[in-house]
């Protein structure tokens, strides 16, 4: 009787140890996926884009080749949630400053005001380097469309809102295959803690 009991305990411990493994494993892949004729799963991907950054340099998906990156939407004159998002994003920047595999992409949703010069001054005053953290501007419609269809976050004009825009405070984690691997509230420090844990997990997927 006692032997069976001990055996039972041993088995249980082993089973729970096994159960722990998959939890650690991989981050979810977001968006609608399809199965190709060949039977492969095709995941939702960030569409092609071409914007200009604070150095007047083109930013395209190639800019992030072989990198994971965190994307957000903001505007420099935003009085509400953007400053707190930038405070939080600065934590991500500081943590991965020395890691070339991690980058940041901030889209301005007010390109009329946020010219290259304005973005340049903003980035410099924030004290961040442009090879790590790109602030981009472009055609407003293109940016809004990319936000809604690719990054799956809302950004619209609204005259009644302070600053004139409503937008999500989301940070979006994108992997090296341009797939979305996480959404986080960029105005909440604990969510950004989670983002940084997830970035580490995502980077581990590429180790081997």
């Amino acid at each position: 009787m006692r032997v069976t009991f001990v055996l039972y305990i041993v088995l249980l411990t082993m089973a729970s140890a096994c159960n722990l493994q998959p939890k650690e494993e991989k981050l979810k892949i977001y968006g609608r996926s399809e199965v190709s004729d060949a039977g492969d799963t095709i995941y939702h991907k960030i569409a092609d884009y071409k914007f200009v950054d604070q150095d007047s340099a083109w930013v395209t998906p190639e800019t992030f080749e072989g990198k994971v990156y965190v994307a957000d939407f903001f505007f420099t004159s935003c009085p509400t949630i953007c400053p707190i998002m930038k405070t939080q994003m600065l934590r991500v920047y500081d943590k991965y400053k020395a890691n070339p595999e991690v980058m940041i992409l901030s889209h301005s949703i007010d390109p009329k005001h946020d010219t290259v010069a304005v973005l340049k001054e903003f980035a410099e005053r924030l004290g961040v380097k442009s090879d790590k953290w790109h602030f981009i501007t472009g055609k407003k419609d293109d940016i809004f469309k990319l936000g809604q269809t690719s990054y799956m976050v809302a950004a619209t004009e609204d005259g009644s809102e302070p600053g004139g825009y409503v937008h999500s405070g989301a940070f979006i984690l994108v992997d090296k295959e341009r797939r979305i691997r996480g959404f986080y509230d960029g105005t909440v420090a604990e969510q950004v803690d989670k983002l940084m844990i997830d970035i580490d997990k995502l980077l581990k997927e590429y180790e081997k």
Partner: protein, 148 residues
């Protein structure tokens, strides 16, 4: 018995009333302290809602984008201009503790004089600042003089 008790009570009240009158000075300092405490508590709440996003919870500011309020020479030398700035908005370059800042600050016109007094009492008496109380009367007088 009952009437005796009431008599004693009335006497006691009269006595305390008298003492109150005699040390008027001390009494008003005490009520000022209480008022200051209330302003600090309310000011902290309002600061969290309206200011902390940019100027940060401990008034430290953010990089060279948003100036610090803690031990800010600009703030403490320009309290009136700052009250106007919070109410009506501010733009243009300013120098705070030797660093220049040039991010426009949107005004919050819906703040009442009392709320402004509470916010400024909190901000100018926290994180190493020690400027004393900002009264609603001061705010009212200041706002009349704001350059538009």
């Amino acid at each position: 018995m009952k009437s005796k008790l009431i008599f004693i009570l009335v006497l006691a009240c009269a006595c305390t009333g008298k003492t109150n009158n005699s040390d008027n000075g001390e009494e008003s300092t005490h009520s000022e302290d209480v008022k200051m405490e209330q302003y600090l508590v309310e000011g902290q709440k309002l600061y969290g809602i309206h200011c902390a996003n940019c100027h940060q919870v401990k008034g430290e500011g953010l990089a060279q984008l948003f100036p610090p309020l803690a031990k800010s020479d600009y703030l403490l030398q320009n309290v009136d201009a700052s009250i106007c700035g919070v109410k009506n908005g501010m733009s243009g370059e300013i120098t705070v503790n030797g660093t220049t800042y040039n991010q426009p600050m949107p005004g919050i016109p819906q703040l009442t004089n009392l709320e402004l007094a509470e916010i400024f009492t909190y901000v100018t008496n926290s994180w190493g600042n020690n400027n004393g109380m900002i009264t609603t009367e001061r705010v009212e007088a200041t706002l009349k003089e704001c350059a538009q």
